[in-house]
């Protein structure tokens, strides 16, 4: 049995999405800028997709959607683009401590370019500290970037509260969110949340890899990170990835149709999963918030006395695929920064396992996972010199 619980890293593509892509790979392969009718048809489909995505987040115009190669590129375009274009208004940028690694790398780059970056801490639940956040704002602040959902610990960020704080400032501060773990998984309304820029990635909701989009509110001053031929979108040039975009649209359509029902279903599964683990395994710690403050797609737990790479490898030998925050699982041998950011120590990071669900996750899979997890944890604790049980053996 294969149980894929690493859906926050990527997801399987739905068959209908594959079919849709196939159409644009083989039959409707014309590029939208051709002069002939088949190109015109593709152009219309592409603009239809743009307007679909605009409506899906309650954007006011389809022109506010720019297609990219994924959330990493969207984040780069948003942060590098807005920061560089607004330098004369100020050089300060604030982000949360739980941003995706791409945002972390981007702001490091911006620091080298002379920007002043504040990383605003989160509380022990992984939720942005609004007081510290508000105090961190300066007259020179031009941009704020806060991830929609802490991608490691599942915390839902107070986007609305943040934008209210931003609106109270005396000058314009652009507000970006990396919504890779939110879009098509829960409702997202740019008006309600007061967002200026939103990054989305297709492969996080059963669409294809290598495609995403960036919402850019009309009037946003932004400069491109790439330059292209005049027949391309000036904000993001290059031959449009039509099959990818159309596939992403199909995936979003499918996901958004029952997004609320699915949210509730996963909330139930999540509760069940946490309950079973907490009642059947000792010395576990839930990382991140509980209940309403948590994305229903994410469970993250630390298992004391044992190490996450070993846990995840042992689980994978049983067909269960997960992620871990252990240093040993990272190329850089660094413990997961999200666990440290919520006040966890290195051991807690090393022992953390992230289980991330998708709309297709079932109770059977959850049961199978918990059963296997119990065995794996027991076995690894058995051989660990740290286990209190070992002392008493």
């Amino acid at each position: 049995m294969r149980v894929f619980l690493d859906n926050c890293r990527t997801t399987a593509v739905i068959d209908e999405v594959v079919e849709e892509m196939k159409k644009y790979l083989t039959d409707k392969y014309s590029r939208p800028d051709g002069l002939y009718e088949t190109a015109q048809a593709v152009h219309e489909d592409l603009e239809g997709a743009r307007s679909f995505f605009a409506r899906s987040i309650n954007a006011s115009s389809s022109n506010e959607i720019v297609f990219t190669s994924g959330a990493t590129e969207s984040n780069n375009l948003a942060l590098l683009g807005v920061a560089r274009a607004n330098q004369r208004h100020g050089n300060h940028i604030a982000i949360s401590a739980l941003e995706h690694g791409s945002v972390m790398s981007i702001v490091k780059r911006l620091e080298k370019e002379g920007f002043d970056v504040t990383i605003v801490p989160v509380n022990e639940q992984g939720i942005l500290d609004l007081n510290v956040f508000e105090k961190s704002l300066k007259a020179s602040t031009i941009l704020v970037s806060v991830i929609s959902v802490g991608h490691f610990v599942g915390s839902l960020m107070p986007l609305k509260e943040i934008s209210e704080i931003l609106k109270r400032q005396n000058h314009k501060i652009y507000f970006h969110t990396d919504a890779a773990e939110m879009y098509a998984k829960m409702p997202l309304d740019v008006e309600e949340l007061g967002l200026d820029l939103v990054s989305v990635s297709g492969h996080k909701f059963h669409g294809p890899k290598g495609v995403g989009f960036l919402y850019i509110r009309k009037g946003t001053k932004i400069e491109p990170i790439m330059y292209g031929a005049e027949s391309f979108d000036r904000r993001r040039p290059g031959g449009e990835n039509v099959p990818g975009i159309m596939g992403m649209k199909k995936a979003a359509e499918i996901s958004l149709k029952d997004v609320k029902d699915n949210f509730s279903k996963l909330r139930e599964l999540q509760r069940y999963f946490i309950e079973r683990v907490e009642s059947e395994i000792d010395d576990v710690l839930l990382n991140g918030p509980r209940d309403d403050k948590r994305s229903p797609y994410n469970v993250n737990m630390s298992f004391s006395f044992i190490e996450g790479e070993a846990i995840s490898l042992a689980l994978s030998l049983e067909g269960v695929e997960v992620a871990t925050g252990s240093a040993c699982a990272s190329e850089q041998l660094k413990p997961n920064y999200a666990i440290l950011a919520i006040g966890g120590d290195h051991e807690r990071a090393h022992g953390s396992i992230r289980f991330t669900f998708s709309r297709f996750t079932t109770k059977e899979e959850i049961d199978y996972t918990v059963d296997k997890l119990k065995g794996v944890v027991k076995w690894l604790r058995n051989i660990s010199p740290l286990s209190p049980k070992n002392s008493g053996r």
Binding site: A310, I383, P385
Partner: protein
């Protein structure tokens, strides 16, 4: 992902010489919880020869597998032979390890040496340091 050989996976799934020895002739623990890598080695020594060895491990799959392989290799060796074991020998025996995991084989060897040294120093007093070849152990990322 980290690519492990079949042999590494086998030693991970079925570690040899796992557990502890009651009343060992020597034992040593190396590594740290903070680094996410820790190991305890227990020795039974007879006439300067390792007649039994067991280990416990807190760490990743490579940690467990290298410890397991190390115990297989040194069982039956004299203390001096065992103390000359190099981390590369273990990596080789396992058919290779991802580079970022080399430190695990280091840890296995360091823990073994520490156990041997503790055995010797209990018998003979501190030795004029056969140690230091590989340097001390510290979190590889720091």
């Amino acid at each position: 992902m980290l690519k492990y050989t079949q042999l590494v996976l086998d030693h991970f799934k079925n570690p040899r010489n796992l557990g502890r020895i009651e009343n060992p002739d020597a034992e040593a623990t190396e590594g740290s919880i903070a680094c996410g890598d820790m190991m305890t080695v227990y020795l039974k020594v007879d006439k300067d020869r390792i007649v039994d060895i067991k280990f416990e491990s807190y760490g990743c799959a490579a940690n467990i597998a290298t410890a397991s392989m190390m115990t297989e290799v040194v069982k039956g060796l004299t203390l001096s032979e065992a103390r000359n074991l190099n981390w590369k020998d273990i990596v080789e025996k396992l058919g290779g390890l991802p580079k970022v995991k080399y430190h695990c084989s280091n840890l296995a060897v360091d823990t073994l040496r520490k156990a041997i040294d503790s055995y010797r120093s209990r018998r003979e007093g501190p030795s004029p340091s056969e140690d230091g070849m590989e340097g001390g152990f510290s979190c590889p990322s720091n």
